[in-house]
Assembly symmetry: C2
């Protein structure tokens, strides 16, 4: 099996630089995963993702299950071939999207019955089904189905979600192994997801139960869904403190630029977020000096690149004045260029974080990032 | 002055291969101009246009005058610098867009008074103003303001439009020369536009009157606006028969793939059309075997590229199944990839036309193209 993780260097904060070997290449961690919901990072050609040095993408099981369908993608040779992406892919379990997007969701021990947000068709997502879908997609890393709940959650709901998530994790692993026995070892690693809302003891319970089952990597779910950043950090710390050093940790759905170093400091290795791509489409650009809302009239005659210290191909060639014009005129190229720049910013920020960890200086880097980006919209 | 045109080879049909030297590079003719209405070919980075071998773009004076404004573009160093395009640019006069897009249009001998389709603001476009705007944009080739009329036009309206267009062409040239005396010779060539609707004798009158004034190149306007293709060809032929061999001819707003060789056969050197880019955004792709409506369910599992005989970077990497999925999911990347392919198709078709002219075989090539593309939607 071609999945392997090793920690190479550590920082006094607890942050680590690591190397994750996947069937589709080596991923340097901590890593940020650009979000390719429907097998595309919105607005970017795969050539651009290669130019940007993306090594691991996130694709959404829920979206791909509904459209174009997982049997179809299997028939087309899997997700890598379907979207022509040579790097690694991580798929989520669909649990979070069913929770946040689908209609008429009904959760039982068996699984989640829901209606598609696209056409109202009815579906049942079980832990076993989530395994099968992700095996069909052929992602390098798959997630066990978890139960996501509303936040803030009452304690009883969080307790029940931890219990169900553990039970589903066990069934997910069983089915994953069963499929491996039946069809041969897949080129995929399955991660379990820790739940427990904002209750430290429940987070610890959930972590210990998943450790009992034993996965090659652990994800932390149900965070960054509206709670304060300090709470996200506290819960993350509760979990990572219990996790073994030699397994990768994936904090799902984070984060704002100034938060990434904090999560790395808590020992997180993988992070993903729609923020850089979504913000780009809304004309919010990240720069070494903070956020730049490019639609602002002050940029109409500004010949400078978006960020004078940025090495991306957009900053090398196009001016703020041109980008502002593209947004003002509602041109397709606005999103294309802005997304390219913002993904570069996030991936470059992670390169800086890895470098800073290797120098053992992550704590001060983190403070500096908060000063630079804490104000303003996401 | 760095503008020069020479005919290199001719075909029995009357088609010619030529070379147009501009301040921003050499353009091999017959050439197709991708349309960059608002200083962007919708969905394509300038890097992609370079990859595709585009040598000459069209930008719209009307759009850029209204947004971001010609004084702004002048201040930013001109259109080439504004959009970061090193190749050549041709700007139209704004006459056609005022005619087709603006509200409350009122034409007098002085010029056209109109309301912006963007914000309702009132503007007066005169021949002199059109010259000044295009000089500010700094395009390599500019157009004298012409009067466009509705089609089919009554003879009296066509007569009046020819008269006014000639008078405006004279004023345009006078003002262009006046500006040159005042500010130094511009790196721009000004073309006159022939009008005359679908009346052969009026087309000849218009042509002769423009020849009397004398321009470095001639455009044919007011065609491909709904009349049958045979009529477009007849009118074009009336004009090109009178034009000197050593001046470039630009047929504005054409055409469908199967028509391009016909226009080349009539001695046309420059053509532009929104068709390849607009069709791409509507999921209509051009291939060596005809049109392909990529949203069709039959492509859902089709692993082949859009066109197996195409050498573009989209066909080298992405499948019909993936493109169909992107269109079905309403993804930005759908328009990006489809536009890239269609612009490649048009530019490659022009390469074939130039090659065929050099072999003296354009007539049979033209028949073959009609068989391949005449059916179906544009």
């Amino acid at each position: 099996m071609s999945f392997r993780f090793e920690v190479l260097e550590t920082d006094p904060t607890g942050a680590r630089c690591g190397r994750l070997r996947t069937p589709h290449g080596v991923v340097e961690t901590p890593v940020f995963l650009p979000v390719g919901t429907a097998a595309t990072v919105k607005g970017l050609r795969q050539e651009a993702l290669e130019e940007l040095g993306a090594s691991l993408l996130l694709a959404n099981t829920y979206h791909l299950y509904l459209r174009p369908g997982y049997e179809r993608i299997r028939g087309l040779g899997g997700l890598h071939r379907f979207m022509s992406w040579r790097g690694a892919i991580l798929t989520d379990s669909g649990g979070y999207q069913v929770f946040s997007l689908a209609d008429l969701r009904k959760v039982t021990d068996k699984g989640v019955r829901f209606r598609s947000h696209l056409d109202g068709s009815e579906h049942l997502l079980t832990p076993e089904k989530a395994v099968e879908i992700q095996l069909a997609l052929g992602s390098d890393i798959s997630m066990a189905l978890d139960e996501c709940i509303e936040t803030p959650a009452p304690r009883a709901a969080a307790e029940s979600s931890v219990k169900r998530t553990t039970e589903w994790a066990r069934r997910s692993q069983n089915h994953f192994q069963e499929c491996a026995r039946r069809n041969g070892e897949p080129a995929q690693a399955q991660f379990g997801i820790v739940q427990g809302a904002t209750f430290a003891d429940l987070r610890r319970v959930s972590t210990r139960q998943l450790l009992d089952i034993g996965f090659p990597g652990y994800a932390i779910g149900g965070l960054a869904v509206g709670e304060p950043h300090a709470m996200t950090c506290e819960m993350t710390g509760e979990v990572t403190a219990l996790l073994p050093q030699d397994h990768p940790r994936y904090l799902m759905g984070v984060g704002r630029p100034e938060q990434l170093a904090d999560y790395a400091a808590l020992g997180v290795d993988l992070m993903d977020c729609v923020l850089p791509t979504r913000a780009a489409r809304h004309a919010c650009l990240y720069t070494s000096e903070g956020r730049l809302l490019i639609k602002n009239a002050r940029y109409a005659d500004d010949q400078r690149p978006v960020d004078e210290h940025c090495s991306c191909s957009v900053c090398a060639r196009y001016s703020r004045a041109y980008l502002r014009h593209l947004f003002a005129a509602g041109e397709l190229l606005a999103a294309v260029l802005a997304t390219h720049h913002n993904v570069h910013f996030y991936l470059d920020l992670m390169r800086q974080i890895r470098e800073t960890i290797s120098f053992g200086k992550l704590a001060s880097f983190s403070s500096e990032m908060h000063m630079r980006y804490a104000e303003g919209p996401a």
